[in-house]
C-alpha cells in the first residue's frame, strides 16, 4: 500500500518535471522568435507594412555611426517598418563575427572587415554606407607631440614622417583606420607600432601615456583634446589623409547573402531609412541636434557644433556603395600589412547586392 502510494507520488513528480521542462523550452523558443507582436520577416516582406525585427551588431557610438544612430533614435527606422535592436560589440571585427555566426541580422563595420570575411569564403554583402570616406582622426598625446619637433600645423608629409616608431591604437586589425594608418605609413616609409583598443578606452590610454596616440572617430578625439591630454595630428574628415589610402566607407552596414536574398524588403527599408536620415542632417532638422545632444552628453555645445559641421557632409552623402569603392578597399587591403590570405580571389562585385 505504502509502496504503491510512493510510486504514484513519484509519477506525479516526474510528470510535473516534464511539464515544467516543456513550458521552459516553449517559453525560450517563443523568446528567440521575438515574441508575438510582429510577423516573421518573410511575412512582413509579403505584407509590406508590418514592422520587422532586425538585429544590428553595432561597434560603439562613434560619429562614424551617427546616420544609423539617428535613424534609430529619431524613429526613422520605425517609420520605415524596422524594429531595430542595436547590439553593442567592441569592434567592427566583432560585429562581422556576430554576423557570420548568425547572432545578428546585419552588422556595422568597415568594408575591409567584410572583405576579410569574404576572403575566407563567407558570403557577405554591403547594404549601404553609413559614413562615406574617412572618419578617423589621429590624436597624439600632447607631451609626445611636443617632443616630435614637428608642429601640429606643419605639412601633412612632415606630420606623417614624425609618427615613425610611435605606438598608435586602432579598434582592430581589420578596421578601416588600421588600413588607413598602414597605407600612410607604407607611403612615407615609416614604421608604426599598432595596438588594438576599444575606442572608448582610447582617451584614457592616451591620457595616462599607455599609448602615444590613437586613430578613431569622434567624439573620442574631441574628448581627449578637451581633457588637455591630446592634440589632433591628422584629420580624416578634413581630408588630411591622402585619398589613395583613405577608406571608401569608414562604416558600412553588412549582411549575409542568404539574409539579403530572403529579406529584400528589409534591405530596401534600411537603405530608405539611411537616405531619410541623411536628408534630415542636410536640412538642419532640429531633431538631429536634439538626438546628438542625447547621444553625446559628454561634449559641450561648442565642441559638438564644430564636430557636426566637420562631419555633416559625410552624414548626408549618398549611402550607396559602388563597385569602384569596394575595389579601392580591396587594393588598400592588399597593400597593407594585414596580410589577408585569400584576398586576391575576392572580386568587388561579389560584395554588392544584385
Amino acid at each position: 500500500m505504502i509502496e504503491s502510494t510512493f510510486i504514484l507520488k513519484r509519477r506525479r513528480y516526474v510528470w510535473a518535471a516534464v511539464l515544467a521542462l516543456a513550458v521552459t523550452v516553449l517559453a525560450a523558443c517563443g523568446g528567440e522568435n521575438g515574441g508575438t507582436a510582429t510577423q516573421s520577416p518573410s511575412g512582413a516582406a509579403q505584407s509590406g507594412t508590418a514592422p520587422v525585427d532586425v538585429k544590428f551588431g553595432v561597434p560603439g557610438t562613434s560619429f562614424a555611426l551617427v546616420r544609423l544612430l539617428l535613424a534609430n533614435s529619431t524613429g526613422v527606422f520605425k517609420d520605415n517598418g524596422i524594429n531595430a535592436n542595436l547590439i553593442q560589440v567592441s569592434s567592427g571585427a566583432q560585429a562581422v563575427t556576430s554576423l557570420v555566426s548568425g547572432d545578428v541580422d546585419v552588422a556595422n563595420a568597415g568594408i575591409a572587415d567584410a572583405l576579410t570575411a569574404r576572403a575566407k569564403g563567407q558570403d557577405l554583402k554591403v547594404i549601404a554606407s553609413v559614413y562615406p570616406g574617412p572618419a578617423g582622426i589621429l590624436v597624439l598625446n600632447k607631451s609626445v607631440a611636443n617632443k616630435l619637433g614637428v608642429k601640429a600645423n606643419a605639412s601633412v608629409a612632415n606630420r606623417v614622417k614624425a609618427l615613425n616608431g610611435l605606438t598608435i591604437a586602432t579598434p582592430s586589425a581589420t578596421s578601416s583606420y588600421t588600413s588607413m594608418l598602414n597605407g600612410v605609413a607604407a607611403k612615407a616609409g615609416i614604421q608604426v607600432k599598432l595596438t588594438y583598443l576599444d575606442q572608448t578606452a582610447m582617451p584614457a590610454a592616451v591620457k595616462t601615456g599607455a599609448i602615444d596616440g590613437f586613430l578613431g572617430a569622434s567624439p573620442y578625439p574631441e574628448i581627449t583634446v578637451s581633457a588637455g591630454s591630446g592634440v589632433v595630428w591628422l584629420s580624416g574628415p578634413k581630408g588630411e589623409f591622402p585619398a589613395d589610402v583613405s577608406s571608401t566607407a569608414t562604416s558600412a552596414t553588412l549582411t549575409t547573402g542568404a539574409y539579403a536574398k530572403a529579406h529584400p524588403e528589409v534591405i530596401k527599408r534600411i537603405i530608405a531609412a539611411y537616405q531619410e536620415a541623411g536628408k534630415m542632417v542636410a536640412s538642419g532638422d532640429k531633431r538631429v541636434t536634439t538626438a546628438l545632444k542625447q547621444l553625446y552628453p559628454q561634449l559641450d555645445s561648442g565642441v559638438l557644433s564644430a564636430a557636426v559641421s566637420t562631419n555633416k557632409s559625410a552624414w548626408s552623402a549618398s549611402p550607396l556603395v559602388t563597385e569602384a569603392g569596394v575595389q579601392h578597399e580591396i587594393d588598400l587591403l592588399k597593400s597593407g600589412s594585414a596580410n589577408v590570405s585569400g584576398i586576391n580571389n575576392v572580386k568587388a562585385k561579389d560584395l554588392l547586392l544584385g
Binding site: L194, Y196, S341
Partner: protein, 316 residues
C-alpha cells in the same frame, strides 16, 4: 628495523617471539632469516617496478593512440564536411606553425609571452607562498585578513585588465602584474590552508624531544608547507600563461595573445588554433618542469615508510 633487532639481541632467545612494538631478540636465526629474505624482497621490488613500468608504458601508448585518433578524426571532418572556416584542420595549423617558425615570428612572440608569464609566475608564487604561509601560521592575523583576501579573490580578474592598462601601460609590466595577481591567489590559498593544517601536536612533541625553534621550522613546518606551495604552484602555472595572454588581448604590440587576437579579427582560424596549440605546449612543458623540481626538492616524500622495511617477521 635491523638495528632495533641487533640492539635487542640475546644469545639465549633463539626464536622471534614478539612484534615490532615489543622487544625483539635478534638471534642469529632471525638475522639469517632477514638475510635470506633479501633476494625475495629484491625480487618483489623488481616485479613491482616492472609492473609499474609496464602500466605507465601502456598509459603512454593509449595517450598517443588517442591523440592520433583525435587529430585524424579532426582532419577528416574538416576536409570532408568543409568545416575549415570554423575549426581549421591539423594540416593547416601545422602549416601555419611552420610559417611562423620560418619567419621568426613565433620565437619573437613566444619570448615576449614566456617572459611575461615566467616573471609573473615567480612574482605571484613567491608573494603568494610567503604571505600564505605567514597568514596561515599566524592565526590571529590570518583570521583578520582572510575575509578581505577572499573578497579580492572573488573579483572577476578580467574586469581588472582595463585598469591595469591604465596603471601600467601596454608594455610587459601590465601583463606581468596581471599574471602575478592570478598566480598569487592560487598559491596563497593553498599555502594558507597547508600552514593551518600542520599538526601542532607533532611540533610540540618535536620540542619535547629537544628540537629548537629553528629545527622545528626547518625540519617540520617548512617541509610540510612546501608540499602545499607546490600544489598551489601547479594550479597557478596555467594562470600565469592565461594572465599574460589576456593582458595581450587587451593591449599589446607583440606576443602570442596579441597574435591570436589579431588572427581572430582576421578570421584566420589556423593561426588562432596554432597560437592555442603553442600555449598548451608551454603549459604542459611548464608543469613537467615543476613536477621534476618538486620531486627533487621534496625527495623526502618518497622515502619508503616503515611498512616497506617489514621483512615479514611474524609477531607470533
Amino acid at each position: 628495523m635491523r638495528h632495533l633487532l641487533s640492539e635487542h639481541s640475546s644469545p639465549q632467545d633463539d626464536a622471534p617471539s614478539q612484534g615490532i612494538s615489543g622487544s625483539v631478540p635478534a638471534t642469529p636465526t632471525v638475522a639469517r632469516q632477514a638475510d635470506d629474505l633479501k633476494p625475495a624482497e629484491a625480487s618483489i621490488k623488481t616485479k613491482l617496478s616492472r609492473a609499474a613500468w609496464t602500466s605507465s608504458h601502456k598509459t603512454r601508448i593509449l595517450q598517443v593512440l588517442l591523440l592520433v585518433i583525435v587529430v585524424c578524426g579532426w582532419q577528416i571532418v574538416a576536409t570532408t564536411f568543409g568545416t575549415k572556416f570554423w575549426t581549421s584542420s591539423p594540416h593547416d595549423i601545422a602549416g601555419q606553425l611552420y610559417d611562423w617558425g620560418k619567419s621568426g615570428q613565433l620565437w619573437l612572440d613566444l619570448r615576449v609571452t614566456l617572459s611575461e608569464a615566467a616573471i609573473g609566475f615567480l612574482l605571484g608564487g613567491i608573494l603568494g607562498g610567503t604571505m600564505g604561509f605567514a597568514l596561515g601560521w599566524l592565526r590571529g592575523v590570518g583570521d583578520v585578513l582572510e575575509p578581505f583576501l577572499v573578497a579580492l579573490y572573488t573579483l572577476p580578474k578580467i574586469a581588472l585588465a582595463p585598469l591595469f592598462l591604465l596603471w601600467f601601460g601596454i608594455g610587459t609590466l601590465n601583463k606581468i602584474v596581471f599574471a602575478a595577481v592570478l598566480v598569487f591567489f592560487m598559491v596563497f590559498f593553498t599555502t594558507f590552508e597547508g600552514a593551518r593544517q600542520i599538526d601542532r601536536d607533532l611540533l610540540e612533541n618535536a620540542q619535547v624531544i629537544g628540537a629548537n625553534r629553528w629545527q622545528v621550522l626547518t625540519k617540520f613546518v617548512v617541509p610540510h608547507a612546501a608540499v602545499w606551495v607546490f600544489t598551489g604552484l601547479r594550479l597557478g602555472l596555467p594562470y600565469s600563461i592565461i594572465g599574460a595572454v589576456v593582458g595581450e588581448f587587451f593591449a599589446a604590440t607583440s606576443g602570442l595573445g596579441y597574435r591570436i587576437k589579431q588572427a581572430s579579427e582576421l578570421l584566420d582560424t589556423p593561426s588562432v588554433f596554432a597560437g592555442l596549440f603553442v600555449l598548451s605546449v608551454i603549459a604542459l612543458g611548464g608543469l613537467q618542469l615543476l613536477t621534476l623540481l618538486e620531486k627533487r626538492l621534496l625527495r623526502w616524500k618518497e622515502n619508503p615508510g616503515l611498512a616497506e622495511l617489514d621483512t615479514g617477521i611474524s609477531a607470533t
